[in-house]
């Protein structure tokens, strides 16, 4: 199964093409071809998932899938499936399938569905490209494509708030892109290469120019990763429809930024170089501040999705913090959170969407008694919330434990204090929601209740969060199994440290 087939170099392209082709066909479909569009969407998502699974299997057995051609003299377009890219590609393909199913239910009977699903697929194609990009240039292409394909999703509803949020989003991310481009050009001038390689491509001793390039690259990527003080667009962008928020917070935009920072640190500068040049500790400090800042701001939000948005700002910085610990355990902790945070946060956004669509509930203080009314959704929410807090044996605990040990290994005990403080704050803003769901009686009617037959809500909306919540439990309880996020992160780090 893992022999060198002639097909192998084409697998990354095919994985990319599934969503790209789906996007183009869907754009051309008439609005009312509901069944065909759904079939196309789901078919493409399943096809992509299968391709990614095949590649994961191959990469596990030491294969590399690579395809490149020269675009400009000295600048290559390169797609490559290595262990790190499979992590992000795997996350995006699994969650694309679930989010597509969810979006089908969510947008039932609403206008402009072809436009929506077209850009939705394009957005997923961009994340796949980001995952599979074999050098910084290719990464940048897909990174900008992601910006452009998400904008129509953010403003999908077309309301004044949505347009305002979209404007803010586009200003932030395009400026970030410009800074990234500047950093990239300077990097090319300085080193003559834009390749990604395990252990980094930067050689020699640290220079001020390299430091400046690092700052530019991280600042450019930090906009999407919602690193303080570049986070302003994210809480506004939650006006987008729930499936968009779910994808935005779990895989697409925020993760693309974090993934980019991981790539830059580990495969461009190299952890050893970056750490010796003293670049990582300041970034770790910034990430730690963002973690606490996001949690504190989340505490004061009364809108459910806004609270989740600030929670994302906090949680995504765990990934950056982990990489900045500059040791194998810390890196495992950061990488594993790339997947864990995605699965937990998408569950929470799915659930928030379910409360909004089924009960008309948007605010946390309207959630009283939602547990008995929507038990499956609320169980999923509860599991994901406890996962975020880092309660064992759920996914978040594995992250927190690995990161904590990584911090102690790197002799940075203050990081453990930050992790504990963040857990306390997470408990402080998630537990009151759980309490309202299950223990507060419902006294008055729901704001806008919709009945969907036998189930508590539409099946399309119900199953995705139930599955992801089950995954939150499974990837925690069975963290030591092969192909679990933890095992895969260990594989990535092993290959990084012993290339």
């Amino acid at each position: 199964m893992v022999e060198d087939l002639w097909l192998n170099p084409w697998l990354p392209v095919m994985a990319l093409a599934t969503s790209m082709v789906a996007a183009l066909v869907i754009f051309m479909l008439p609005e009312e071809r509901h069944v065909l569009r759904t079939a196309l969407n789901l078919g493409a998502a399943v096809a992509k998932l299968i391709l990614v699974i095949v590649m994961v299997w191959g990469v596990f057995h030491g294969l590399e899938y690579q395809l490149s051609f020269t675009m400009l003299p000295g600048i290559e377009f390169e797609l490559k499936a290595d262990s790190l890219s499979m992590m992000f590609a795997g996350l995006s393909s699994v969650l694309w399938l679930l989010t597509t199913a969810y979006a089908v239910g969510y947008l039932e009977n609403s206008p402009n569905r072809s436009r929506f699903f077209g850009f939705f697929s394009l957005c997923v194609a961009s994340t796949t490209g980001i995952a599979l990009a074999g050098n910084l240039f290719t990464f940048f292409l897909f990174y900008e494509m992601l910006t452009l394909s998400t904008y129509p999703l953010v403003v999908h509803r077309g309301t004044a708030t949505a347009l305002r949020a979209g404007r803010s989003y586009i200003i932030y991310t395009l400026s970030g892109g410009a800074v990234l481009l500047l950093g990239m050009a300077w990097l090319y001038a300085e080193t003559g290469t834009l390749d990604f390689a395990p252990g980094g491509v930067v050689e020699g001793s640290p220079t001020p120019a390299l430091t400046a390039i690092f700052v530019l690259l991280v600042a450019g990527l930090g906009v999407k990763a919602a690193l303080f003080p570049l986070h302003g667009w994210l809480p506004q962008a939650m006006v987008a429809p729930a499936p968009v928020s779910a994808l935005l917070h779990a895989v697409a935009v925020v993760k693309a930024g974090a993934f980019g920072i991981v790539r830059v640190i580990s495969d461009v500068f190299g952890i050893g170089f970056a750490s010796e040049a003293g670049l990582l500790l300041p970034l770790a400090g910034l990430a730690a501040f963002t973690i606490i800042f996001g949690s504190v701001r989340a505490l004061f939000q009364q809108d459910l999705k806004r609270r989740l948005a600030y929670s994302t700002i906090s949680q995504v910085s765990y990934i950056i913090l982990g990489i900045c610990l500059a040791g194998p355990l810390g890196m495992v902790g950061g990488l594993v959170h790339l997947l864990h945070q995605g699965i937990m946060k998408i569950t929470l956004f799915f659930c928030a969407g379910n409360y909004a669509e089924t009960l008309g509930v948007h605010r946390i203080d309207e959630l009283d008694g939602a547990g008995p009314r929507m038990p499956a959704t609320s169980v999923a929410f509860t599991i994901a919330a406890f996962g975020m807090i880092g309660t064992p044996p759920l996914a978040g605990f594995i992250t927190k434990w690995t990161l904590g040990l990584g911090a102690l290994e790197a002799e940075l005990p203050w990081v453990v204090v930050v992790l504990l403080a963040s857990s306390l704050l997470n408990a402080a803003y998630f537990l009151p929601i759980v309490y309202r769901l299950w223990f507060r009686p419902r006294s008055d009617a729901w704001p806008e209740e919709v009945r969907w037959g036998r189930l508590e809500t539409l099946g399309w909306l119900l199953w995705p969060p139930v599955l992801t919540a089950a995954a939150v439990v499974m990837i925690g309880v069975f963290a030591a199994m092969p192909f679990s996020p933890l095992s895969w992160a260990e594989l990535v780090v092993n290959r990084e440290y012993r290339p």
Partner: protein, 565 residues
């Protein structure tokens, strides 16, 4: 090693979860499975051999489950009490929110059973956390304002405890480069931050075990829960903190610092302070909750002595298990009896009061009960000539004082129950559950199939002649004091449950909403000054009678007994 044991272990933690999953399909018969859920765990405790280990490399981060004499004792306690409390629950619960209650019951049970057999930090902490968070649902089940206040205090302290624990476990695991609990304990001693780790572990588990100053939630939360839940909270779950101490602290190894002596002081404060706050209670269940704090204080003495005297740890640790088993079942029986109505008249009435009082007197060390054995074993283990610690000479008088205090509490409990309980008929399951627990408290102790420590002589259930005074003197003293108190004191001073928590100004009512916006700085300042004034005024009125009096008597009693002996 028996090949079936892994299956039994999986069944022990899996059966409650499986039963939980079938809840949506449940008919009326389904709830009768409740008492059977801990049965695989009980079987596991009985048929396994000490030293049984099972590695589960696929679970969490490479787990290991194991059983030794200590864990088998704790597992027996946990399984028996949850089972008999389950019988009781059949005759206690009504249909209001029944499913919700059963969900939390099963989750808590899984956690409580699992943590006993866990041999590595990750699975231990997982089960511990499951128990901690799920038992919130048991505490607040009645849905009263009082229950939600108790739940809030409980949750706040539990979360803080979890964080302390996590920090301690992480530091230890980093030092040990392993997750196995035995290796953690070994590594703690040589760690540069040994003091910090030990402090974190003691306080982290102390929240659950009722360590003084971390105990406030306990007299609030244990009484407000439905009675069968109170029984397992105060009988079985409270022991999880104790077990955590024994498993993670470096007992038997030379430990830096004076943590052993500190724990002895804390244990003394809990044992006497808890008793004195307890006699000032107005509700039977609150009296019993304080009695639990007081009894846990005695177990803290043991842990402290084992920590301070490494070469005695091997002797003391089995006694801790015995004491936990004895106290858990007796306290469970007492909690259940608060909801059993006395018969109107006749010899049944006499039998009722006899069975009601028996576990209580057992706690005080009445000869021929489990308490007598536990007390004697403890006394011998803590004999001062074996111990080198600073507080060694205080241990014996502290134990005597503790026994007196215990019986005073029991007398207070009996008095209150006598005044408050109305004669009525009991649902049969309720009576059965209570009787089973009383029987368990009286019998389980004697049929343990394994050696529970080398101090226990055969036939150990008959104290030797010279031991009777040691057992009977505190009982006589307490009876006299109780009688005098009944003559002289018309009304005991009242201490609010949660004692020192009364210093904390009253919070917003349960129906209030979470604050929407951060208050401006000016308002925050105003609130702080309000708090400070409320603190001085409220503290004075609420604690004037109870707290200070209790403190004075405590000091007096210990000094007196130390002089006498």
């Amino acid at each position: 090693m028996m090949p079936a044991l892994p299956f039994l272990a999986i069944a022990a933690v899996g059966l409650p979860l499986l039963w939980l999953l079938t809840l949506p399909l449940a008919g009326r018969w389904h709830r009768f499975g409740l008492p059977l859920l801990p049965v695989p765990a009980l079987l596991l405790a009985l048929v396994s051999t000490s030293g049984w280990q099972w590695s589960l490399p696929w679970l969490l981060m490479d787990s290991q489950w194991l059983l030794d004499d200590l864990r088998r004792t704790f597992l027996t306690l946990t399984a028996v009490l949850w089972s008999t409390a389950g019988v009781f629950a059949l005759g206690y619960l009504d249909n209001r929110n029944l499913k919700r209650f059963l969900v939390f019951w099963c989750l808590t049970l899984t956690g409580n059973l699992g943590l006993v057999i866990a041999g590595d930090a990750a699975s231990f902490y997982s089960f511990f956390a499951l128990m901690t968070f799920a038992s919130y649902g048991l505490v607040v089940h009645e849905g009263t304002d009082e229950a939600f206040r108790a739940g809030r205090v409980y949750m706040a302290m539990a979360v803080v405890g979890e964080m302390l624990l996590l920090a301690g476990l992480m530091l230890a695991a980093e030092e040990a480069d392993s997750l196995l609990l035995t290796e953690l304990a070994d590594a703690v001693v040589t760690a540069p931050q040994a003091q910090l780790i030990i402090g974190l572990l003691i306080t982290g588990f102390g929240v659950k075990a009722g360590l003084p100053l971390l105990h406030f939630w306990l007299p609030l939360a244990h009484p407000v829960a439905p009675t069968p839940a109170s029984a397992v909270l105060s009988g079985a779950m409270i022991k999880a903190g104790l077990l955590g101490w024994v498993l993670t602290l470096p007992l038997g190894l030379a430990t830096p610092g004076d943590w052993g002596d500190l724990m002895v002081v804390a244990g003394a404060a809990a044992s006497l302070g808890g008793a004195l706050a307890g006699v000032c209670q107005r509700k039977t269940k609150a009296v019993l909750a304080y009695s639990s704090i007081s009894q846990m204080g005695l177990m803290m003495l043991l842990v402290g002595a084992a920590l301070a005297t490494p070469d005695r740890a091997a002797v003391i640790v089995p006694i801790i298990g015995l004491y936990a088993l004895h106290h858990g079942l007796a306290k469970g029986a007492l909690f259940l009896s608060t909801a059993v109505h006395p018969p109107a008249a006749g010899p049944v009435r006499w039998a009722y009061w006899l069975l009601l009082a028996l576990p209580g007197f057992s706690l005080a060390g009445l000869p021929w009960t489990s308490g007598a054995l536990a007390k004697l074993a403890m006394k011998e283990a803590l004999a001062s000539d074996h111990l080198t610690m600073v507080t060694a000479t205080w241990l014996s008088p502290l134990m005597t004082a503790g026994a007196v205090a215990t019986l005073l509490l029991i007398l207070r409990f009996l008095w209150l129950h006598h005044k408050q309980a109305e004669p009525a008929a009991n649902p049969p399951w309720r009576t059965a559950g209570w009787l089973l627990t009383v029987a368990g408290s009286g019998l389980v102790f004697w049929v343990l199939p394994w050696q529970a420590g080398e101090l226990v002589e055969q036939p150990y259930w008959l104290p030797k002649a010279y031991q009777y005074p040691a057992l009977l003197a505190p009982i006589g003293l307490a009876l006299t004091a109780g009688f005098l108190a009944a003559l002289l004191v018309r009304r005991a001073p009242a201490v609010p449950p949660g004692d020192l928590l009364a210093l904390w100004p009253a919070r917003r009512p349960a129906s209030g909403t979470v604050r929407a916006q951060p208050a401006p700085a000016g308002r925050a300042l105003q609130r702080w000054s309000d708090k400070v004034s409320a603190l001085s005024v409220g503290a004075d009125t609420r604690l004037r009678s109870g707290g200070l009096l209790a403190l004075a008597i405590l000091v007096l009693l210990v000094t007196l007994i130390n002089q006498v002996s």
